[in-house]
């Protein structure tokens, strides 16, 4: 496919480091959009703060780069005002689950029709390598010089528990799966979240001595286990693994549809 019609060519080069997974994720998003033949005028991409959140600047859609943690809040407002738009949120693990954690769980609980793509790189990359809610316990960060003390959020699990319609996970190594599940997330009416495991060699890999950028990508290949296969594995076998694929896909009432019914009812009265 031709990526050029989707890109703002004058905004390149991008800010992402060599070995970062964010560019691979962008490619998968554009392929999914191209497969769906969506009108660029009807796509809005909303982000917060961080490396992943710079994505909207590079793409030729209606783009909104908001404040830290608030991407889903802005996206909710936009979707309520313009339900004809495909609203895609691009956010990171820190943005979505720390400062924006409440927005994430309540948007999932409402089951509003958004597609939320969370790039999980286990760290705050852009802002200085601080420990994030998904930094594996014991791993190092600039603010965890003795290793992280806290339990790790399972972003996909959290979103399923909060009530989202569709939740999936992929690594950036598995490019075909990534493209396919992003496409399904966009097609799904309701709150859809894809957790995209995207390695950060600069802020996370270096301090944790994880080797060359290539190694972080190869590690994803070795750690990934498809959801179907994971079901026959023991907890012990699943230790340190990344479960990938569509984790949940269910039919639930969608918020805007429910809201429109209330408006119709109120007008009759």
């Amino acid at each position: 496919m031709d990526y050029m019609p989707y890109l703002r060519k004058d905004k390149f080069p991008h800010i992402w480091c060599e070995g970062c997974g964010d560019g691979i994720a962008l490619k998968a998003i554009l392929r999914a959009i191209d497969n769906l033949k969506l009108d660029k005028d009807k796509i809005a991409m909303v982000s917060g703060i961080g490396c992943s959140s710079r994505t909207p600047g590079y793409v030729d859609f209606n783009t909104l780069h908001t404040t830290h943690g608030r991407a889903i809040a802005f996206a909710t407002g936009l979707k309520m005002a313009r339900s004809d738009l495909h609203v895609i949120v691009v956010t990171g693990d820190g943005d979505a689950t720390a400062i924006g954690g409440n927005h994430l769980i309540h948007a999932a609980r409402r089951n509003i029709d958004l597609t939320v793509l969370v790039y999980n790189n286990h760290i705050y990359g852009m802002t200085g390598g601080q420990v994030s809610p998904t930094t594996p316990m014991g791993d190092f960060a600039t603010t965890a010089p003795y290793g992280g003390l806290e339990n790790t959020f399972d972003i996909a699990g959290l979103t399923i528990a909060a009530g989202a319609s569709f939740v999936a996970r992929s690594t950036v190594y598995h490019t075909t799966m990534l493209e396919r599940i992003i496409q399904r997330a966009m097609e799904k009416r309701g709150f859809s979240l894809v957790e995209i495991m995207s390695p950060c060699p600069t802020a996370y890999g270096k301090i944790n001595k994880r080797g060359a950028p290539k190694q972080l990508i190869l590690d994803q290949k070795n750690q990934a286990v498809r959801i179907e296969r994971s079901k026959s594995m023991t907890q012990q076998e699943l230790q340190g693994k990344i479960i990938t694929g569509v984790l949940i896909d269910r039919e639930l009432p969608e918020y805007i549809q429910t809201y429109d019914k209330v408006i119709a009812q109120a007008q009759i009265r």
């Binding site: 005028d41 600047g57 209606n62 783009t63 780069h65 908001t66």
Partner: protein
């Protein structure tokens, strides 16, 4: 503005929806490929396109240039911040809102805001009943501040009383606006309940 306003119940009369004038934000008449979302003009208010209407532009919370994209270019940063600040300055007469009560012949002033306005109005009536010429300005916006109007009032009255449900915050701003033209007296309360009008009335009597 304060807890009492947050909790008070009152009857309000809403206008008929048909009588409400809706003023929408200015929309661009330039074609999408020529559109600059933050282009400056005399109005200082750039036309803003709706998402979904064919103008695929970028909005960021970072400092941006007239294209809407983040910038680190110092002249562009200065231009953006100057525009935002000048916009407030240019339209401050439309933004600043306050309500005056019996200020025409006032010799003593009250400058107040929030729920303390109710205590102040009661105190004003008590004072007027005794023939004391008290006038009051109730600020409906605090920023930008009605500096010029308070300066004029300060030249007219001997004292300005500033009742506040704190240890004195807006009183500093009133002092600044008065520029020494009248004495600023404070009535403060931090007990969690409203200021009793008697306390303000007692302060008015101190001014006589």
């Amino acid at each position: 503005m304060d807890e009492i306003i947050g909790h008070v119940y009152e009857k309000v009369n809403l206008p008929d929806p048909q009588d409400i004038q809706i003023i929408n934000r200015k929309k661009p008449d330039t074609p999408p490929d020529k559109y600059l979302p933050y282009q400056n003009d005399e109005s200082l208010i750039p036309p803003m396109a709706n998402f979904g209407d064919g103008y695929r532009y970028h909005v960021t919370g970072l400092v941006h240039d007239e294209t809407g994209f983040p910038t680190n270019d110092t002249p562009q940063i200065e231009a953006m911040l100057t525009r935002l600040n000048s916009k407030l300055d240019k339209y401050k007469d439309e933004i600043i809102a306050f309500e005056e009560t019996e200020t025409e012949d006032a010799k003593i002033g009250i400058v107040t805001f929030g729920s303390s306005s109710r205590s102040s109005r009661h105190a004003l009536r008590m004072a007027r009943a005794e023939g004391l010429k008290v006038g009051m300005i109730r600020m409906q916006t605090l920023w930008p501040f009605p500096t010029e109007r308070i300066f004029q009032l300060a030249k007219q009255v001997s004292h300005i009383i500033v009742p506040e449900l704190n240890l004195g915050q807006i009183a500093h701003e009133v002092e600044h606006a008065a520029r020494g033209n009248s004495e600023i007296l404070r009535v403060n309360r931090i007990t969690g309940d409203p200021i009793p009008p008697d306390e303000i009335f007692a302060k008015i009597k101190e001014c006589v």
